[in-house]
């Protein structure tokens, strides 16, 4: 392992997990939250011809998922560099 110390290894994993949890909160919010649990409330708002809750369930959540993975990829690459554990 290329970590300088055991503390570094712990800190890296902790930051990784905390980033993951933050992004999974968004993942949950747009799909299970806006798309299912809060759909009736959001449906009172119109987005063009779409009811907003319906839009989240059939369009919005999917766009957000794509963004989430790329944010994750980018942030993890930065984290790898910070701790000197990237592959290059």
């Amino acid at each position: 392992m290329a970590f300088k110390s055991q503390d570094d290894a712990k800190a890296y994993w902790k930051e990784n997990v905390s980033l993951m949890i933050k992004l999974l909160v968004v993942w949950f919010a747009v799909s299970f939250g806006c798309g299912i649990l809060l759909v009736d409330v959001l449906n009172t708002i119109q987005l063009g011809g779409y009811k907003l809750g319906f839009w989240f369930a059939q369009q919005g959540s999917i766009y957000t998922f794509v963004v989430l993975i790329f944010v994750y990829t980018k942030k993890m690459a930065a984290l790898d560099r910070k701790y000197g554990v990237d592959e290059e």
């Binding site: 649990l37 959540s61 999917i62 790329f70």
Partner: protein, 576 residues
């Protein structure tokens, strides 16, 4: 040109293209043939993963189901895309770091147990066979329509073609072929959607068209759709919940974590060059998948509207049965569309009421293929969708069959029961396994448990309840030991299987439920297709408690977990 001829040309040309690319790429190296190119760019790998992933369920079946479920169909859209987020963050980079070829291998090593490996193999085989039944349904529908035969004959012909396609085999592993398949598939899906969106709303982007006003009026398409379906007595399109909120929640969750537990998707992340690429490959795969998944709801809504407008062009003026369009007659031949003149007026009534509805059978799986015909698009567009649908169904079915065959011959026979088997015998065993799997899946495909996408959803539920929890705990917990993992997998898949078999029949054979029909007693109102989420919960819980009361994993396993959590020092999958 005649539609039938155009279809043959379309299907023939695209298959010639795949085989051509396969031969061209094969000349490169044999190693590349097996590991799908270790040096492939993440964008290319993402495209190939997307082609692998999108099967008859996504292409042929899903939009048709959404067309009739409305908002409730969103479970497929969110479930099958949201799963990639889970995959990218929780599994893909770590499994890549570990660098073995198959999921049972990882489970066997991480839980230092041959039993764990065997349990994983059995779970995978159960999921994959169920998955193939769904593909068979899609293949049967596609072949019956384009050869103008009944569904059963179409399915038989399809089974033979799948067998040869899968035995030719290796072509599946070549990334460039899959990229070509993706291109055909996505064009075949989006071009008709663009045409239909233009026709109805004047907007060329189906994603925006669905939210636009109808061409030449001030009425929003979705408002109009809500209005016409409620007039016929159906639930409002944009708000019709699938059974209950709890059920939709469980259904979506089951599909999401099932996505992250299915072997044929995970396997692609074993073969990218680095951990970084494993992360971004998942992102690119989702980009390419999203193109289809954001188009599908538009296809669904517009198909429903067009279908109703065809049958009832103006309110109260129903289509005369003798003047029905050609597509109607063609689908009647397959037995998947049936009309019964209940009131004897010679006209077609389509309503929500069982007593007056004369469209007695509209198989959901015909909608996507029939859609361009219903919208009266040119013949070449209809031929194109045929080629795309067959590509999607055949490639995924063949890939899954290869996975089943290799788990039986490689993981079970060579890995466990007959270690001294020769390579030739291993190959023969895998051919027999493949033929057996096609036979079983095909036989069950004559009376599938659900529409194609629904059947595939069952497979995802089984993967969600067995494989996903074991993989996730294997990475994120050092404390979960072999006893916990094995007990968890067995508990999860058993409870899910029992629930599914009780409601859908043992091995999906109707009327074999062991406790009689229990519909009113569904657990929390959760349908069998969505039960994987509950199974996964059981798996996690059992694994946790069993691990607590048994011995912690040995030190070298805890070191292994530390090792896979860090990207640097990746071993190449090619070394194995």
């Amino acid at each position: 040109m005649e539609l039938q001829t155009l279809t043959y040309i379309g299907v023939g040309l695209t298959f010639a293209l795949y085989i051509g690319i396969a031969i061209w790429a094969r000349a490169g190296s044999t190693k590349e043939f097996y590991v799908a190119g270790g040096g492939i760019h993440p964008i290319a790998n993402g495209m190939a993963t997307a082609a692998d992933w999108m099967s008859a369920a996504s292409f042929i079946s899903m939009a048709g189901l959404i067309a009739f479920m409305g908002y409730g169909g969103s479970v497929f859209l969110m479930g099958w895309t949201g799963g990639f987020v889970v995959l990218a963050m929780l599994l893909a980079p770590y499994l890549r770091k570990y660098g073995k070829f198959t999921v049972p291998e990882f489970i066997g090593d991480r839980f230092y147990s041959r039993t764990a490996r065997i349990v994983a193999v059995v779970c995978l085989i159960i999921c994959s066979v169920t998955y193939v039944i769904g593909q068979m349904k899609g293949i049967g529908v596609a072949f019956s329509r384009f050869l103008e035969v009944s569904y059963d004959v179409g399915l038989l012909i399809g089974m033979c073609i799948v067998f040869f396609y899968a035995v030719l085999g290796g072509m599946k592993g070549i990334t460039y072929t899959q990229i070509a398949q993706y291109c055909v598939l996505i064009l075949a899906y989006t071009i008709p959607a663009v045409f239909i969106s233009l026709n109805l709303t004047g907007n060329p982007f189906p994603q925006l068209g669905l939210g636009s006003t109808l061409a030449g009026s001030e009425v929003y398409l979705l408002d109009r759709l809500d209005q016409v379906v409620t007039e016929l007595g159906f639930m409002e399109y944009t708000t019709s919940v699938r059974l209950s909120t709890v059920n939709m929640f469980a259904y979506t969750l089951s599909l999401m974590i099932g996505t992250a537990g299915l072997p044929h998707v995970i396997i692609r992340f074993f073969t990218v060059p680095s951990v970084k690429d494993a992360r971004s490959s998942a992102g690119w795969a989702l980009v390419f998948i999203s193109i289809l998944y954001t188009t599908a709801p538009a296809v669904a809504g517009m198909a429903r509207l067009n279908l109703i407008n065809t049958i009832e062009p103006t309110q109260g003026e129903n289509l005369v049965y003798d003047e029905r369009p050609q597509w109607f007659k063609n689908w009647e031949k397959t037995g998947l569309l049936k009309f019964e003149d209940k009131n004897g007026d010679g006209k077609i009534q389509y309503t929500a009421s069982k007593d007056t509805n004369e469209m007695v059978k509209v198989d959901r799986d015909i909608m996507v293929l029939a859609n361009p015909e219903i919208a009266q698009l040119p013949n070449w567009v209809i031929a194109l969708i045929a080629a795309g649908g067959l590509a999607a169904a055949l490639s995924t079915a063949a890939g899954l069959l290869l996975a089943i065959a290799s788990s039986i011959s490689h993981d079970l026979l060579k890995g466990v029961f007959m270690p001294h088997i020769t390579e030739k015998q291993e190959l023969r065993a895998s051919r027999i396994a493949m033929a057996g799997a096609i036979g079983v899946a095909g036989y069950l495909g004559f009376n599938p448990p659900d529409f194609a996408a629904g059947t595939v959803a069952l497979a995802f539920g089984l993967a969600a309840s067995s494989i996903f929890p074991a993989l996730m705990m294997g990475i994120f917990s050092k404390r979960i030991n072999k006893e916990g993992a094995i007990a968890g997998m067995i508990a999860g898949i058993t409870i899910t299987l029992l629930y599914v078999f009780q409601h859908k029949g043992v091995m999906f054979v109707a009327d074999t439920s062991f406790l009689g029909d229990m519909t009113p007693n569904w657990f929390l109102g959760i349908e069998p297709n969505a039960f994987g989420a509950v199974g996964a919960l059981v798996n996690f819980t059992v694994a946790f408690f069993v691990s607590r009361v048994t011995q912690a994993p040995p030190q070298e396993i805890q070191d292994l977990v530390e090792h896979i959590r860090v990207p640097c020092g990746v071993e190449s999958a090619q070394d194995h």
